[in-house]
C-alpha cells in the first residue's frame, strides 16, 4: 500500500518530528520503496506461528524489589539543559 504525504505528516506528528516539504517528498518516496520491499513477508503463511518478541522469552526479567544505592540527585541533574530546586526545568506546559 502506498503512503501519501498526509500520512507522512501524521507519522511525523506522532514521532515529534517536523519536515520540510522537500523532505516529506523524499521520505514518501523512500518509505514506499522500503514498504514495497518489506511486503514480501506477506508471501509467508504465519497463521499458526507464535511471535518471538524476545529470543529468551524474557525469562530473567523479575527480581526482588530491594532498596539500594543509586545515582545521587545532583549527578542525575548534572546533564540537564536546565534544572532548578532539584528538578528538571521545562517551558510552560499550559498557556
Amino acid at each position: 500500500m502506498a503512503i501519501g504525504k498526509d500520512e507522512i505528516r501524521h507519522i511525523a506528528r506522532l514521532a515529534n518530528l517536523e519536515f520540510s516539504e522537500t523532505e516529506i517528498e523524499r521520505f514518501s518516496r523512500q518509505f514506499n520503496a522500503i514498504l514495497e520491499y518489506v511486503a514480501q513477508l506477506d508471501r509467508l503463511d504465519t497463521a499458526n506461528i507464535a511471535p518471538t518478541f524476545h529470543v529468551d522469552g524474557g525469562a530473567h526479567a523479575l527480581r526482588d524489589d530491594r532498596v539500594a544505592e543509586s545515582i545521587p540527585q545532583e549527578e542525575a541533574l548534572a546533564n540537564a539543559p536546565e534544572a532548578a530546586r532539584g528538578l528538571f526545568k521545562v517551558p510552560r506546559v499550559l498557556g
Binding site: 507519522i11 515529534n16 518530528l17 511471535p51 529468551d56 549527578e75 546533564n79
Partner: protein, 493 residues
C-alpha cells in the same frame, strides 16, 4: 614505531605484569600512535589522553604494591561512543547528545577497568548505531586503514578502524544487525558478536533492545577471547543478561577442527555474490576440510526474509527507545520553544540526522494503529521461522560458516542516497541478531584491490566456545595477519 604497538593483548599483559614495561609506557606509545594516525583514519570521537595516563599510573601503582593488576593489565582499549564511560563525553555519533557526560560506567566498561584495561578513547560510529558505513555519524568521517577512500563499515566503524590501524590493542563495539562483524570484515580483523544475553547491555545506549549486543574487536582471535572473558557474564543491572556461568574461552582455542561438522548454507552463497568474496570464503572452507572438518550442506530457507523482518523489528524498537531524546534531561535542547510540545519537536528535529529520522518514522509507522498486525506482529512471527531454520540446521552441525558481507569495503558516498542498498549490506549478519546467536568475523583473504574479505562463523546460543574454536583454527590455517597488513596510514611528518 614503538615496540608495543603491534603486540597482542596477551603479550602486552605479560610485559606489564612481569615489569618489563610499565602500563604508562604502553599507554604513551599508543597515545603517540593515535596522534600520528588520527589525522587520516579519524576513528575516535574522543581521545582520553589524561584519563588514560591516570588509569595506567594506577595499574603501575598496583603492580608496585605487589597486587594483581587484572587479566587485561595495561592493555589499551577503545570503546564505541554508544557505551557510557564515567566522565567521558558520550555522543552516539549524534548532535542530540551534545554535552552529555555520563555519571556511570556501562557494565562492560566497568569490567574492562576492573580487569586493568586502560581506556584510550571513544570511537566514532553511525548515529545511534544506525548504518553500515559510519557515514551517518554527525561528526568526522572514519576511513578504512586499508584504503582511505573507502568506508570502514559500520556502525562500529571507529572501533574496527582503530584496531586495524594499531591505535588500540582491542576495542568494544555493538552489533544490532551486523555492526561488529561487518566493519571487522571491512577492516581485516577478528571480532565477535556474542549470544544475546551473554554480555550486559547496562550503560549501552539502546537502539533495538531485543537485538543489541556488546562485543570485542581484536587483532587475533585469542585477543577477542581474552576481552570476551572479562565482559561476559550475568549483570543484575540488565534483566536480559543470562545468569549462566562463563566458560574458559582461552581453553577452547586449541581444540582444532578435526571431526567437527561445519554447515554451509547455500542461501549465503547466492548468485550475484561478489566473486572475490566467494573465492576467499570457499578457500577458507577448503582449508577447514583439510584440517579435518566435515563440510555439510545445510538449508536456512527463510534467509531472504531476514532483512525485511529486521527493518520492521529494529525500527519499531528504535522509535520507542529514541522517544527519550526530548531536550529535558540531557543533551541538546532547542532554543526559543513556545511550550513543552514545541520543545520536543524542535529539539528532535534539530538533533537527529536523516537516517535516524527515517528509522524513527518507519518504526512509528509500523507500530501505529491499524498497521501493528500487518507489520510488527508479522515480522515477529517470521522471526520465529528464522530461529527454527537455525535450530534445525544445528541438529546436524556444530557451527555454520558463511561470508560476513556480500562485498568488501565500498567507497564513500556509494550507498548514502539509497537506504535499501545500504540495508542489504547486512544480509548475512542480521539473521543472527534476530535469532540471538553468537557470530564472529575473521579475515579470510584479500581482493585484488587489497581489501580484506570476512568469513562469518556462527554457533548455537551461548556456544561462543565453538565459534572461537573454529575461528582460532581457521585463523591459523589462513595465516592472514602474518601475510597481510594495511598500508601504514601514518601521516608524513
Amino acid at each position: 614505531m614503538s615496540a608495543f604497538i603491534d603486540r597482542t593483548v596477551g603479550e602486552i599483559r605479560a610485559l606489564v605484569a612481569a615489569g618489563e614495561a610499565s602500563a604508562t609506557d604502553v599507554c604513551r606509545a599508543y597515545l603517540e600512535r593515535i596522534r600520528a594516525v588520527e589525522p587520516r583514519v579519524q576513528a575516535f570521537r574522543t581521545v582520553l589522553d589524561t584519563a588514560a595516563l591516570e588509569d595506567a599510573a594506577r595499574i603501575d601503582r598496583l603492580l608496585r604494591e605487589g597486587r594483581n593488576p587484572g587479566p587485561l593489565a595495561g592493555v589499551p582499549i577503545a570503546v564505541k561512543d554508544v557505551l557510557c564511560a564515567r566522565g567521558a563525553p558520550t555522543t552516539c555519533g549524534s548532535r542530540i547528545l551534545a554535552g552529555f557526560v555520563p555519571a556511570f560506567d556501562a557494565t562492560s566498561v566497568a569490567r574492562l577497568r576492573a580487569a586493568g584495561a586502560v581506556l584510550v578513547g571513544k570511537t566514532n560510529m553511525d548515529e545511534f548505531a544506525m548504518g553500515s558505513s559510519t557515514e551517518n555519524s554527525a561528526f568526522e568521517k572514519t576511513r578504512n586503514p586499508w584504503d582511505l577512500g573507502r568506508v570502514p563499515g559500520g556502525s562500529s566503524g571507529g572501533s574496527a578502524a582503530c584496531v586495524a590501524a594499531d591505535e588500540a590493542a582491542a576495542s568494544l563495539g555493538t552489533d544490532t544487525g551486523g555492526s561488529i562483524r561487518q566493519p571487522a570484515a571491512f577492516c581485516g580483523i577478528p571480532a565477535l558478536k556474542p549470544t544475546y544475553g551473554r554480555v550486559s547491555r547496562y550503560g549501552l545506549v539502546a537502539f533495538a533492545s531485543s537485538l543489541d549486543q556488546v562485543g570485542p574487536f581484536g587483532r587475533t582471535v585469542e585477543d577477542v577471547a581474552r576481552v570476551l572473558q572479562v565482559i561476559a557474564g550475568h549483570d543484575p543491572l540488565d534483566s536480559t543478561s543470562a545468569p549462566r556461568p562463563v566458560p574458559d574461552y582461552a581453553a577452547a582455542l586449541q581444540r582444532g577442527l578435526r571431526g567437527l561438522r561445519i554447515g554451509i548454507p547455500r542461501e549465503y552463497f547466492p548468485a550475484g555474490l561478489d566473486p572475490e568474496v566467494e573465492v576467499a570464503a570457499r578457500g577458507a572452507l577448503r582449508l577447514a576440510e583439510k584440517a579435518g572438518a566435515h563440510l555439510v550442506d545445510v538449508a536456512l530457507p527463510h534467509t531472504e526474509y531476514a532483512i525485511p523482518t529486521y527493518y520492521i523489528v529494529a525500527t519499531a524498537e528504535a522509535s520507542s527507545n529514541l522517544a527519550r531524546y526530548d531536550g529535558v534531561r540531557y543533551g541538546h535542547r532547542a532554543e526559543a520553544a513556545a511550550d513543552l510540545a514545541d520543545l520536543y519537536v524542535r529539539t528532535r528535529t534539530e538533533g537527529f540526522g536523516p537516517e535516524v529520522k527515517r528509522r524513527i518514522m518507519l518504526g512509528t509507522y509500523v507500530l501505529s494503529s491499524g498497521y501493528y498486525d500487518a507489520y510488527y506482529l508479522k515480522a515477529q512471527k517470521v522471526r520465529t521461522l528464522l530461529m527454527q531454520d537455525f535450530d534445525r540446521a544445528f541438529e546436524s552441525v556444530d557451527a555454520i560458516v558463511t561470508p560476513t558481507s556480500p562485498t568488501p569495503a565500498f567507497r564513500f558516498g556509494d550507498k548514502v542516497d539509497d537506504p535499501l542498498s545500504m540495508y542489504l549490506s547486512d544480509i548475512f549478519t542480521v539473521t543472527l541478531n534476530l535469532a540471538g546467536l553468537p557470530g564472529m568475523s575473521i579475515p579470510c583473504g584479500l581482493t585484488k584491490d587489497r581489501l580484506p574479505v570476512g568469513l562469518q562463523i556462527v554457533g548455537r546460543r551461548f556456544d561462543e566456545e565453538m565459534v572461537l574454536r573454529v575461528a582460532a583454527a581457521l585463523e591459523g590455517e589462513i595465516g592472514f595477519r602474518a601475510a597481510h597488513r594495511p598500508p601504514s596510514p601514518v601521516a608524513a611528518s
